[in-house]
């Protein structure tokens, strides 16, 4: 008879959960795709790592949640049992798969998958799964048993190794491009599809040493920084900024066009994120059609600079950008005016409609004469830093006798500079009088009005300034791609921007930038697993919202709310008069 409060039963439950997750990953085809990538070459593939990590995590959680007794034996038994159950469920899955043809329903339940799961031993190899599962579970419970001081560096190191393995392809390409010593080092550290064994070993030693030495050091460094005289502090800051600036300037030359392009896209999303952060984060006005302003900025630059059939004028990018930003601001006001009195959920739906209208109009046959319809606008001029005439008006076909922003490596500078400018403006706005007015209407519109805040003006400014940021992003996007299609202005862009803000931290400028890196940059770098992009994206969002709902880098307001949210009782009233 199983006692439901028994720790063994708890371990089995968590093991079954782990096993179900493992089977799910297998059936959607993730394990098969990930097995083509190595974490450590010839030792462990990404697919294996995922399954083992599932077993280890269920072992860890089972150990953590068991309350009966915290002796070492019960801990180890719990962990092993949970891992064993995970492995067992997978083994059962393999056995069932070998008896019945599951492929009629589950396309990915192929012999290839079962071979992978059992290390090519077929159904007989299912026992291996039990062994590995139990071992992983044991490791999980051992990890729990370790003191925090050892555990943290260890898990951090493992995570770091995992990250290095994921991005090893990128590092390898970049380093091999440098030739000479760097190329040799790259071949030593990184294999074709993951870390080499020696590379993994070296990274492990370095990172483990670093993380265990680092703990507690950051406070010391902060302390010694604070003790420096004012002049010294400024010097340290200047040096830090100079180093960062140097890295930022040199980066595209070292990394090549692919990484530069990823950074450009991150910058564009960060600009949109900072724009929406004004309307949503500062002023509390939800906008689900934010891509519309991006589209307005993009189409304005396209129409003004294209030498294709739809180009209206042939002015230079530099002259077109201010017009594009103004056009976006105008559309911000056009959206803002009718929805001034609309609040909350209704506002979300109204703005959603606005975004779709802009996209459908731009792509419609009705306006195809002007916007190219589904064919889009092509032949958009690249920006050129040349003579003064070229600064304003350009000839067709144009020659650039200066610096041409031809590809991602050059547009990188444009995007980065614009993103920094916008982040600076957003930061100044936040602490301005207008920023305080936004904060007040976000908290309570009626009270804000009663305090002397002009609701119409303040709300419209939030829409208009947010739109300006997105419009600038759209303008840069246009010259990056060289063409615009209405189909790139999809709803999911708007939703991505909202997700960036929520994951990064509503109302927090560094949070938005971090959110853009996490949600746009990382998936772009992991193009190979793009099939599962939205699955992983969804899982990340759910975990984020459960574990850290305030965002990666929450704003001061939210941080304070989390710190002390207990209400002061009135029972202290006798002191009030004091």
């Amino acid at each position: 008879m199983i006692n439901k409060n028994n720790f063994l039963w708890n371990a089995i439950k968590l093991g079954l959960l782990g096993g179900t997750i493992g089977i799910f990953f297998s059936l959607v085809g993730m394990i098969e795709v990930f097995s083509k990538r190595d974490v450590i070459e010839n030792v462990i593939t990404l697919g294996d790592f995922m399954l083992l990590a599932t077993a280890a995590i269920s072992g860890f959680i089972a150990t953590r949640s068991q309350t009966n007794s915290k002796t070492i034996t019960t801990n180890l038994v719990t962990g092993t049992l949970a891992g064993l159950t995970t492995g067992g469920l997978l083994a059962l899955f393999v056995w069932v798969g070998s008896q019945i043809n599951l492929r009629a329903v589950f396309l990915n339940a192929s012999p290839v998958l079962f071979d992978l799961l059992t290390y090519k031993k077929g159904a007989n190899g299912a026992w291996l799964l039990l062994e590995y599962g139990a071992l992983a579970g044991l490791i999980g419970s051992l990890l729990f048993g370790l003191p925090e001081k050892t555990r943290k560096p260890l898990t951090n190191t493992i995570l770091f190794l995992f990250g290095m393995a994921l991005f090893s392809g990128l590092f390898r390409v970049v380093m091999i491009n440098q030739e000479g010593g760097a190329a040799k080092l790259a071949k030593f550290l990184f294999g074709q599809t993951g870390l080499t064994l020696s590379g993994a070993f070296i990274f492990f030693i370095i990172v483990a040493a670093f993380t265990s030495l680092w703990s507690g050091q950051s406070k010391k460094i902060q302390g010694s920084y604070a003790r420096l005289p004012k002049k010294g502090q400024i010097t340290v800051r200047v040096i830090l900024i100079a180093v960062l600036a140097f890295i930022a300037i040199a980066l595209p030359q070292i990394s090549g066009p692919f990484i530069a392009q990823v950074i450009v896209v991150v910058c564009l999303y960060a600009m949109m994120g900072l724009g929406l952060n004004i309307t949503l984060g500062f002023a509390g006005l939800l906008d689900l059609g934010f891509v519309a302003f991006f589209a307005v900025g993009a189409y304005t630059v396209g129409l003004l600079t294209s030498y294709g059939p739809f180009g209206l004028e042939h002015i230079s990018f530099w002259a077109a950008v201010p017009i594009a930003v103004l056009a976006s601001m105008l559309f911000g006001a056009i959206l803002g005016l009718p929805v001034l009195g609309v609040r909350g959920d209704y506002l979300a739906i109204a703005t959603l409609g606005f975004g779709e209208i802009i996209r459908l109009l731009a792509g419609s046959d009705f306006l195809a004469k002007y916007f190219g319809g589904p064919q889009g606008i092509i032949g958009i001029q690249k920006p050129c830093l040349g003579t003064l005439e070229q600064f304003v008006k350009i000839d067709v076909p144009r020659v650039c006798d200066g610096l041409e922003f031809a590809g991602p490596k050059e547009i990188y500078y444009l995007a980065l500079a614009s993103a920094i400018l916008i982040a600076f403006i957003a930061w100044r706005l936040q602490s301005s009088r207008l920023g305080r007015a936004w904060m007040a209407i976000r908290e309570d519109e009626d009270v804000a009005e009663a305090l002397g805040i002009n609701l119409i003006q303040t709300k419209l400014l939030a829409y208009v300034l947010g739109a300006a940021f997105a419009g600038l992003g759209g303008a840069i996007f246009t010259v990056l791609v060289g063409s615009i299609f209405a189909s790139s202005m999809q709803l999911n862009v708007s939703i991505n921007v909202v997700a960036i803000i929520i994951v990064g931290g509503m109302g927090s400028i560094p949070g938005v930038i971090l959110g853009a890196i996490a949600l746009i940059g990382l998936p772009e770098l992991l193009r190979e697993v793009s099939e599962f992009r939205y699955l992983l994206y969804g899982i990340t969002l759910i975990i984020m919202m459960l574990a850290k709902p305030e965002g990666l880098w929450p704003s001061q307001t939210i941080l304070r709310e989390l710190k002390h949210n207990e209400i002061m009782p009135d029972t202290e009233s006798p002191n009030i008069k004091a």
């Binding site: 305090l451 609701l455 939210i558 002390h564 009030i576």
Partner: protein
């Protein structure tokens, strides 16, 4: 000369005729209270004066200047501030930020700092708690904060909506002491209260409001002794 004059105002919520021709006169330096049951139109009257609701008929003027031609956010600049019902503090902002918001209509930094000092002298408790978020304050402290925030705009007339709501009796007394003090410092006060006994004990005059109409007006002392008022609002037989 009368400070705030409300002449025959009619306010509607859609088709509902909430205020049916209300006239009030509040002289400079007075505390005037508006008493009445639930749904009598007390809050509506205050919201109409502060411009958040626009009446279909009638006039509101302050020192002879028509207030109705200003939108709600400019009424503050004319010297009328409101402490809203249920306090309406910005729960996620700190006490200091709340007070600064109150001075939104005052642009000079010196005036702001001067007013802040004044509020901290009037409410020493808020000074202790100035870095704390307003949502973590007790009910009484929140009421002080809402009052302080309204005073930050240097009003000549302060509209207070149910300051005693949800407070322990000892705190109600404290809040009414503060109201008296604010009045002594030169601010005219229009006080809306369900706790009629407390309100009449500090007010100079009072109006009784019933289903959108003024049914009675007199000095506070006389109202307190009026048998009808005693029966309906003071719980005496």
């Amino acid at each position: 000369m009368s400070t705030l004059t409300i002449d025959n105002i009619h306010t509607y919520y859609g088709n509902i005729h909430a205020l049916r021709g209300i006239s009030l006169k509040i002289e400079k330096g007075e505390i005037v209270t508006l008493i009445g049951g639930n749904g009598a139109g007390k809050t509506t009257t205050l919201r109409t004066i502060s411009g958040l609701l626009k009446p279909r008929e009638g006039n509101i003027s302050l020192d002879g200047e028509d207030l109705l031609k200003y939108p709600a956010h400019e009424v503050v600049y004319k010297g009328v501030s409101m402490v809203p019902e249920g306090r309406g503090v910005f729960a996620r902002l700190t006490v200091l930020e709340n007070l600064e918001m109150g001075a939104f209509s005052r642009k000079s930094k010196e005036e702001l700092n001067h007013n802040l000092e004044k509020m901290f002298t009037l409410f020493p408790r808020l000074k202790e708690r100035r870095t704390q978020t307003a949502g973590t304050l007790s009910g009484g402290e929140q009421q002080m904060l809402a009052t302080g925030r309204a005073l930050m705009a240097n009003p000549t007339v302060l509209l207070m909506d149910e300051p005693s709501m949800g407070l322990a009796p000892v705190l109600v007394e404290l809040i009414f002491d503060i109201i008296k003090k604010i009045n002594e410092d030169g601010t005219t006060i229009l006080l809306v209260e369900q706790n009629a006994l407390m309100a009449l004990s500090i007010a100079n005059r009072g109006y009784v409001l019933q289903t959108g109409e003024i049914t009675l007006t007199d000095t506070a002392q006389n109202l307190k002794n009026n048998p009808m008022v005693q029966k309906a609002y003071l719980g005496m037989e």
